[in-house]
Structures are given as C-alpha cells and as structure tokens.
C-alpha cells in the first residue's frame, strides 16, 4: 500500500494550470479547497470559480490525469460553499497575472468600493498608468472585465473582484 504525503500532492496540483488563464495554477486561484488522504484513498476537494465556468470539467480531468501519472488514484469532489472569492488568490498568482497582461483584482471583496461595483485604481498591466477606463463589466471570460488604458491606449483584461 502506497502512502502519499499531503505536500507531495499539493506539489503535483501546483502543476495543473487553469485552462483559461494558463499562467495560474489551480492552487494560485484557490480552486483546491482540501486534500483528504485516508489510507490509500485520496480525495481532492475543489470549488468552481463561476457556476457556468466551462473550465471546471477540464480542471477535474487534468487533476485526475496528473495524479494518475504518479500512480495516485483520486476522486474529485466539488463543493459550492463557501463560495469562491478572488480573496483566495495567492500573491504569487497575482504577480503572475500581471506579468501575463491581466490586471489582478485590486480590492478585497469586502471593501466598500468593490461591493458597489467600483474599483478605484485598476492600473494598466503594461505601463502601470492609473488613468484607465472600464469598457465593459463582462470580458472575454466570466472572471474578467474589459478595460482600456488612456495613456498607452492598450485595451486589457481585469480579473474582477468576486
């Protein structure tokens, strides 16, 4: 009977990218809520970012695949509560997002501005200018809004607070 350490499994999960935003791992995004190891059984608990996110099925398949490559037979359990929030995104994840050209969420979801649907300073991921304008609250995927930089004139995605 093979024993797996919790750390070893988390290290493997670090290698599973989000299909829509491949610079982020599912750990960076906070999608993995728990890893439960009982004897030789492993259960990975995940939560969806958005209810209609088409990437979730893909993520479950990819988790199973990478664990199987390492001879770990895992089951995936999806939970809805507590509901996923961008507050769970890791700091390194936010940094990676910015380098990828997507402005990471700027506020905690409990901030008043965020509750009112306003974000004061969404800076341009290219030139760091704060002179930006929201084009649309709904962007290329469920998790993003579309912005434009008034300085360098580039359009860019903003990973919205959720």
């Amino acid at each position: 009977m093979k024993q797996f350490s919790n750390t070893a499994i988390y290290n493997l999960l670090e290698q599973v990218p989000d299909p829509e935003v491949p610079v982020l791992s599912i750990i960076d995004l906070g999608i993995v809520r728990d890893v439960i190891i009982e004897n030789d059984k492993v259960e990975i608990v995940i939560t969806p970012t958005y209810t209609g996110c088409p990437a979730m099925d893909m993520i479950a398949v990819n988790i199973k695949a990478i664990l199987q490559e390492n001879n770990i037979d895992a089951t995936i359990k999806t939970i809805l509560s507590p509901a996923w929030t961008t507050d769970w995104m890791s700091e390194s994840g936010k940094q990676k997002l910015k380098e990828y050209g997507i402005t990471p969420p700027v506020a905690k979801t409990t901030d008043k501005l965020s509750l009112l649907g306003e974000s004061k300073l969404v800076s341009c991921p290219r030139c760091d200018s704060n002179d930006t304008k929201m084009i649309s609250q709904f962007g290329s995927t469920a998790c993003k809004s579309l912005y434009k930089c008034n300085d360098c004139l580039e359009p860019f995605d903003y990973f919205k607070c959720h």
Partner: protein
C-alpha cells in the same frame, strides 16, 4: 419521500427560469448591438446556465431515478416546464431584452439574497454562489435601462414600449404558487410576499431615474409555474432540444 418530491419540483421551478432565460440570451450570440454587449449577454447566459446545472444536478440526486441534468433540460415537454412567463418572451429588440433582464435580475437578486438563508444547506450554497454573479447582472441591466430611458427620444420610446409590453408578466415573479407557499412555510424556499415591496421599490427607483413611467394597468398574466405557458416556449424547446430529440441518446 413526499418532501423530496416537493423539493424536486421547487428545484425545477428555479432551474427552468434560469435555463430558459439563458437560452433566450444565447440567441444574441453574434448579434449583439456592439461587441461588448454581445459578450455581456452571453456571459450572463453562461452564468444562468451554470446555475441551472447546480439546481438540476441536485434535483436528479434527490430524485434518485438515474436521470441526469441533461435529461431534465432536454427531454421534458412544454407543460413540464415551471419557468415564469417573463423569461420565455422573445428578444424582439435590445430594449425588450434589457427590460426583460432588468425585471428578472431585480427579482432574482432579492430572491437569492433570501434563499441564502434556506434551511436546506445545498440550496443555500447554490444561492450564495449565484448571488455573486447576479450582482453583476442587475448592475448591467439597470444601467442600460437608465442609459436608454434617459437617452435619445427614440431610445426612450423604445424602452418605454418594452416596459409597457412586458409589464403584464412582471407580477408573476412575486406571486406565490401552491408550491411556493409550502416551501416558504417549511423555510426551505423564499417568502415571496417578503421580497415583493423591495422588488417594486427597486423597479420604481430605477425607472424613475431612467425617466420612464411605470404602467398603471396591474393585470397580470400568470401560469408558468404551473406549466401553462405562452406560445413562445414550444418554439424555444424545439430549437434547444432538437439534437436530443432527433438523435436520442446521442453523445459527443
């Protein structure tokens, strides 16, 4: 068993409204007035579809007859659907779509805020999750009602026409069916009487800011929750279910 049947029907009632509205919005895909709006409408459709899946997955689980979420969406007929009549009304023009969305979102937001406190844990979890998404929906549709209502003479008139024409389907949102009464009483569902005043207040505030008039006629067309639909639902299902009806049990 009896309780499970009630919960099952309630889940269908909630899921069907999201599913049909999602299907309606999907018709805009590639036809939106501008690209950003096209994306917004389909984003909202995707959220609604995701919420439907949550309701239906839970419904087939408690039913325990081996049906799947797809069976519920694709293999039921018009009279089996419990959605409210508002959501099956045609897109017509952008003003209609915005008006329909605004009425539904305003209701949906208040409804989910209450459903979060359901004594049924799974239902409460679905509600909290969905509420985050619907917050964006209601912002989007309210903003457009204001922009078009308080816009040009033409946009104002189109918006007012849409509000007037759809008004007779708005009352049903907060009208209790027998099932709503039972589910509200057993604390699993939402007390629609409780959210009704806030709902009309919200609509009133937005329409006023949009310089639009609330129609005076308060006659309501109802029946959707009991499976009695307008002629439009059949056409929606014909298109939505075509593949499964034509090639039963197909997979890809």
């Amino acid at each position: 068993m009896e309780n499970n049947k009630l919960l099952f029907d309630y889940l269908l009632q909630l899921g069907d409204s999201s599913l049909i509205l999602g299907q309606r919005l999907s018709e805009w895909c590639g036809h939106g007035p501008i690209l950003e709006v096209d994306m917004a409408l389909t984003n909202i459709a995707l959220d609604l579809l995701g919420q439907t899946r949550n309701y239906f997955q839970y419904a087939v689980e408690i039913e325990g007859k081996g049906r799947t979420e797809d069976d519920l969406a694709m293999l039921r007929d018009v009279s089996d659907f419990k959605n409210v009549l508002l959501v099956e009304q045609p897109n017509e023009d952008f003003a209609y779509t915005v008006a329909r969305q605004f009425f539904f979102d305003s209701f949906h937001y208040l409804f989910l805020s209450e459903l979060q406190h359901s004594t049924n844990e799974q239902l409460a979890a679905i509600a909290s999750k969905s509420l985050k998404e619907v917050t964006y929906h209601v912002r989007f549709s309210s903003q457009w009602v204001k922009r078009l209502g308080d816009g040009t003479e033409e946009s104002h008139q189109k918006m007012q026409n849409a509000i007037d024409d759809l008004w007779m389907y708005v009352g049903e949102l907060c009208e209790e069916s027998e099932l709503d009464k039972i589910m509200s009483k057993n604390k699993i569902g939402v007390d629609l009487n409780k959210i009704r005043p806030n709902f009309y207040q919200e609509i009133n505030d937005v329409l006023q800011e949009a310089t639009l008039k609330i129609p005076e006629d308060n006659w309501n067309q109802t029946g959707g929750k009991n499976g009695k639909h307008t002629e439009h639902l059949g056409f929606i299902l014909t298109e939505m279910q075509w593949m499964q009806r034509t090639y039963p049990n197909m997979e890809w």
